[in-house]
Symmetry: C2
């Protein structure tokens, strides 16, 4: 039985992995926790603590081997394989997700899509045939997928998430603007543009002030 690693540590690892991939692309061989910390804005102690859960990667005072740490993190995170996703909700947002070019290069692919509206059921969008959401349970019993993407209106998002959980889905990406509930053992992340906006208004506000 492996030791339990805090979820917040796991959440930071993809950011480390991306930074390391950038360094690797630049031809860098070694990086210190200090430099990685400055790049990412976390304390070197936090980085060392986060990575210590997975073994000993660096030698005191000599930094991390970029390629080895990068490969190891990608393996730990399961980024060295392909993941199949089911999309629920093929309205404007869902259609945008089916056309999104950012998933495939990173090993994520939508393989099933469902909606409740006769206007889209049966249509092929982004190469995927949209199915009736009433057939969701039966279809997922036949075909195993790894991740659910929820792109339905806020009012029905929790209900859809409950259904995905019943189908055995253990990882959900939620685009609906609600803080959804899932049982223990199921992981959920929210795509939250508002947090991104809120981290920029500080600067706009300062400029407004300066202009007065």
């Amino acid at each position: 039985m492996p030791i339990e690693i805090p979820e917040v540590v796991i959440e930071r690892l993809p950011v480390y992995a991306r930074a390391l991939a950038d360094l690797e692309a630049q031809g860098r061989e070694v990086v210190s926790s200090q430099e990685l910390g400055e790049k990412l804005g976390v304390t070197p102690a936090q980085i060392r603590k986060d990575l210590s859960y997975f073994g000993r990667f660096g030698k005191q005072g000599r930094g991390y081997n970029v390629r080895r740490l990068s490969e190891h993190l990608r393996h730990i995170l399961g980024l060295d394989r392909t993941w199949d996703m089911v999309l629920i909700g093929v309205g404007p947002l869902g259609q945008a997700i089916l056309h999104y070019g950012g998933f495939a290069p990173q090993g994520f692919r939508v393989v099933e899509a469902f909606d409740a509206s006769p206007a889209v059921i049966g249509r092929t969008i982004g190469g995927i045939v949209v199915r009736d959401v009433r057939d969701l349970k039966q279809r997922l019993a036949e075909r195993k997928v790894d991740i659910g993407i929820v792109a339905v209106p806020a009012a029905v998002a929790q209900e859809v998430i409950d259904t995905l959980v019943e189908c055995g889905i253990k990882a959900i990406l939620n685009y609906a603007p609600i803080a959804a509930q899932v049982p223990p053992g199921v992981h959920i992340r929210r795509v939250d543009p508002v947090l991104e906006l809120q981290s920029m208004t500080y600067y706009l506000k300062s400029q407004d002030g300066a202009a007065k």
Copy 2:
């Protein structure tokens, strides 16, 4: 002249502000940096250091006053007012953004939308009349907006971002899957569902392993 606060510190403040708003809604009056740290998965030292840029909020050993810190952070971040946004790209993703219910309750509103396609120019979507992107510069010269949202295909995203910068926009939310470049003084954030997915596959991978 105020001291320069690292951008990474500013990026963490909305997360603190949201956690404090949650605590406030639960009727909590005081919170320690330890508890806030555990809730958010950052070290208490990091929280104390981040907040120390903005003054002295807590008394040693007595924690932070939740309401006061919450209000102060909202004021610092400029979350106590409304921000006007211009949307570029009214394809499937842009239309979803115009219908997104998560912006308005947080004080963000799209007031202008532009596209290059005759199929959407002139249409009213989510209460906004879509204009010809060729009129973007002239329109933004007449009407000041605070934030630009980019929802165009990856291939033209950098060009659109450059145009927004020329128009004087200082904050950009980029939905296109590219790491765009902006000059100093312009802030950009990317809505990046891949990072969210990558923080969940660790668990799926572990389960796969356990099932073997």
